[in-house]
Amino acid sequence: MEIFKNTNFDFLGKKMPFIIASLVLTVVGVGSLVVKGGPKYGIDFKGGTVTTVRFQQTPNEDQIRQALGAKIPGEIVVQQVTGQNEVIISTDLRDEKELNEARAAVFDTLKSTFGSAQGDKLDINTATQAQLADQIRGPVAGVAASVTEQDLQEMVKNILAYRDAAPRSGLLGNLDSLSGVSGITPEVVNVLKQQTYTGPYTIRGFDLVGPRVGKELQSQAINATLLALAGMLIYIAFRFEFIYGLAAVIAVFHDVIITVGIFSLLDKEISLTVIAALLTLVGFSMNDTIVIFDRIRENLPQMRRETLDNVVNLSINQTLSRTVLTSGLTFLTALALWLFGGQVLNGFAFALVAGIIFGTYSSIFIAAPILLYLREWMEKRRKGNAAPAAAVTPVKTKAVK
């Protein structure tokens, strides 16, 4: 099977609409960044807390916001997880002094607002293994004398494992469903009914980052990325020519800027995992560009009479099947991750899906035209210096064997 047979598209001739599209996207993205005062950083980079809470019933977002807002200074963001009775609550943390109390502030407020204590009964949905074991040890011994401590621990472990497995995912709806768990007799279920109740919510995850750590992580991530780009530039300059490296890095930079801009437009947060996705995207895009540049380098010595435009066009056409196939396949993988990868990977996968599209087209419509432009500019400067002009300077063809 073949998608493209001996194509001869004039990519460079059609570059303008794409360059304009890129400029528009960049301007809109950067505009959004400027208006909103920089990217919307997640707590990894600005400090704060993030709590993932699952409820039995659809939670009232306003109620959460108001209850927490009364206790915790700064903005409270409540984000609903699509398809679930689950919310992700973010709070600000501006002062290092709040670090110690931040956790209790969130947990206690949730408890006092949504909890429904039932006398001495234990909420099985927020119980730890030790708490549940302590709660039922005596009563279980009362109904089943043969149960040893080891049996009890095993029993408790099974109950909590059942509670935490999908589709319950940490939240039991009623205690009767536990009768299906191995080792749980009807008597034990009765004990559980007397000693515990199914609370209205459970806390599935909690993150806390101090504001100073956030700042450090932020500068570290940005520095590492910039240095990585510089490293690539140097390597490509060494293997090809400086302008090739420059063109490739500009194209990759363009992809990152647009992706970050889209994140800002859609009000999505930049977290540490999104940074990992951006790095992945840098890798993909750079890869694409190098494959095309490599072909240009290979074609140049054999096509001295052709204009550079033609050489570049031919090279893009020759590698077109490969570009489309590779990008298509990686796009499929990223798409699968976005659709099925779950809530934690969502931001990561989204950055990849968006990034691969830009990464692919930037190699063709951004990197190659910039290369030509830089070449032309250098030629002009050389002519301006009254040096004898060569039509096309052959590229170094150092072969690695």
Binding site: Q131, S169, G170, A228, R239, A276, T280, G283, G341, G342
Partner: protein, 539 residues
């Protein structure tokens, strides 16, 4: 040629075997297989659930405590040498950065005692540097090597204490590591897979747990003012005011005047455990080391009728009259529950922290969230990989099988390498694996497209394969080295998460050079072996 091919095949099979052994070991049963796989593919906390804490050691606390000790010692020495003084005090560095600025200020040394005073300092306080500030005032500052050692030592001791507390909690898989270097960046990273009560662990790790038993001179008083008023505003030498820890049902505060120096401290403990008094109330009882026990016995024998206070972190937990000689044990009352009594026993046996700790970061992934992440990740991975395999087979026919084999081997080598290195698979690591798979597919596509081009130009099958691999090799080297160069920077300058990404990617790419170029080529040669002049190639 044939012999050459055989050697290549052996190399490949050997690699596969080593990798599979690295992942599954030599299992004898299904259960053992599962266990080995779980052991070799270690999942990070973000995937399997658990808690990660970053603690910052407030080293300035240790500097202040050290200065306080030295001030006491200096006062003793000066008393012995009969040197009078107006005041001795220290400054109060508030942050970690300011810790080194600790200084002790001595004022009002009589002129005729100057040389005696200097003598004491040079002989007995050699870790401090003295400067003369004014005619009768001196300032002591800590010298540089000493303050560096102090920083390091404080972090190491805090870490040891935290390790002991973690072990005491029975968190078998937990790890405690130092982050950055102890001199400038006093941070400790605690990772606790599977822990289900991080709030309790946090409280235990943060407890200063400084135990002292001191002699009570006077009291109780209803307030600190009343206490001070009794002795005319100035406390007698060597004493301090102590507040009784608040208890349920208490009416107002109560204060005692106690000795500054303790009879026994937490360091003298041999053991502590939770126990119940005759009314069933929880308390923590402790046993002193033999040496401290003898000391305590002598002291209590001589002080029958006097009062003692048990202090925890500077507050009196209980005050009692000495009825008879006490040998080597005592209790701390006032625990609201069994858990709190045993938690206190745990922090007492692990020793006190040399300085306070603050939590800079906490990341807790509940067990249900971790389980969901793994399941979703596996589904997404399976869908993605199936799609890739399907497209490769449809697009490249028989050669597609070749590519798929190389791809699978690539993944197996990557996972085996991670297992051998003991690396932990985290979310960013998965990002690295995805990029690896993408680039692995790309290598095969590059090669196959080249072979197709060569075939179209009319080259014979073997020559086309040769040329295809040869030309694509240059491109593969460039793309791979570029990425590895960038990974090197990410590894050196990146955060932990970014490092995980970089390591996975570099291993994946190195494995890819082997699978896409060497293995894939060998499979082509193997398929075409024996044929003199193959005329068709399924690609």
């Amino acid at each position: 040629m044939d012999k050459n091919l055989k050697t290549k095949a052996i190399v490949i099979v050997a690699t596969i075997l080593i990798c599979i052994y690295g992942i599954i070991g030599l299992p004898k049963s299904k259960a053992e297989l599962d266990r080995n796989v779980a052991e070799s593919i270690k999942l990070g906390l973000d995937l399997r659930g658990g808690s990660q804490l970053v603690l910052q050691v407030q080293v300035q606390d240790a500097f202040k405590a050290d200065a306080d000790q030295n001030i006491e010692r200096l006062k003793d020495e000066m008393q012995k040498a009969a040197i009078a003084y107006a005041s001795i005090d220290r400054n109060d560095p508030a942050t970690i950065e300011e810790a080194d600025t600790i200084e002790i200020n001595i004022k009002g040394i009589p002129v005729d005692k100057t040389s005696a005073f200097r003598e004491i300092l040079t002989q007995k306080f050699s870790t401090w540097q003295m400067a003369n500030v004014g005619s009768d005032a001196y300032r002591l500052t800590m010298n540089n090597t000493e303050s560096l050692a102090m920083r390091r030592d404080t972090v190491t001791r805090s870490m040891r204490t935290i390790e002991q507390r973690i072990n005491g909690l029975g968190l078998a898989e937990a790890t405690v590591q130092q982050r950055g270097n102890g001199e400038t960046n006093p941070e400790i990273l605690v990772q606790m897979p599977g822990v289900d009560d991080p709030a309790r662990v946090k409280a235990i790790l943060q407890a200063a747990a400084m135990l002292e038993i001191v002699e009570v001179k006077d009291g109780p008083f209803p307030s600190e003012e009343a206490l001070r008023a009794k002795s005319g505003g100035i406390l007698p030498l060597g004493t301090r005011p102590i507040q009784q820890a608040a208890r349920l049902g208490d009416q107002g505060e109560s204060w005692y005047l106690a000795n500054r120096t303790a009879v026994v401290t937490g360091r003298d403990l041999r053991n502590a455990r939770p126990s119940q008094d005759q009314f069933g109330k929880w308390e923590t009882s402790f046993v002193l080391s033999p040496d401290a026990g003898r000391r305590f016995g002598r002291y209590t024998e001589a002080n029958v009728g006097n009062k003692l206070a048990v202090l925890l972190d500077g507050k009196a937990r209980s005050v009692a009259v000495i009825n008879s000689k006490i040998e080597d044990s005592g209790v701390i009352t006032g625990a609201p529950s069994q858990q709190e009594a045993s938690d206190l026993a745990l922090v007492l046996t692990s020793g006190s922290l040399p300085a306070g700790v603050v939590y800079l970061e906490e990341r807790t992934v509940g067990p249900s969230l971790g389980a969901d992440s793994i399941r979703d990740g596996l589904i997404a991975g399976a869908v993605g990989v199936s799609a890739v395999i399907l497209v490769m087979l449809v697009y490249y026919k028989k050669a597609g099988i070749n590519a798929v084999l190389a791809l699978i081997l690539n993944a197996v080598i990557l996972i085996a390498a991670l297992a051998y290195l003991g690396a932990v698979l985290t979310l960013p690591g998965i990002a690295g694996i995805i990029l690896t798979i993408g680039m692995a597919v790309d290598s095969n596509v590059l090669i196959f497209e080249r072979i197709r081009e060569e075939l179209k130009q009319g080259k014979a099958v073997m020559a086309a394969i040769d040329a295809g691999f040869g030309k694509a090799w240059l491109t593969i080297i460039d793309t791979h080295v570029t990425t590895i160069v960038s990974c090197a920077f990410l590894f050196i300058f990146g955060t932990t998460a970014v490092k995980g990404f970089a390591i996975t990617l570099v291993i994946g790419l190195l494995a890819n050079v082997f699978t896409a170029v060497f293995v894939s080529r060998t499979i082509f040669d193997w398929e075409l072996r024996g044929k003199q002049q193959p005329t068709t190639l399924s690609i």
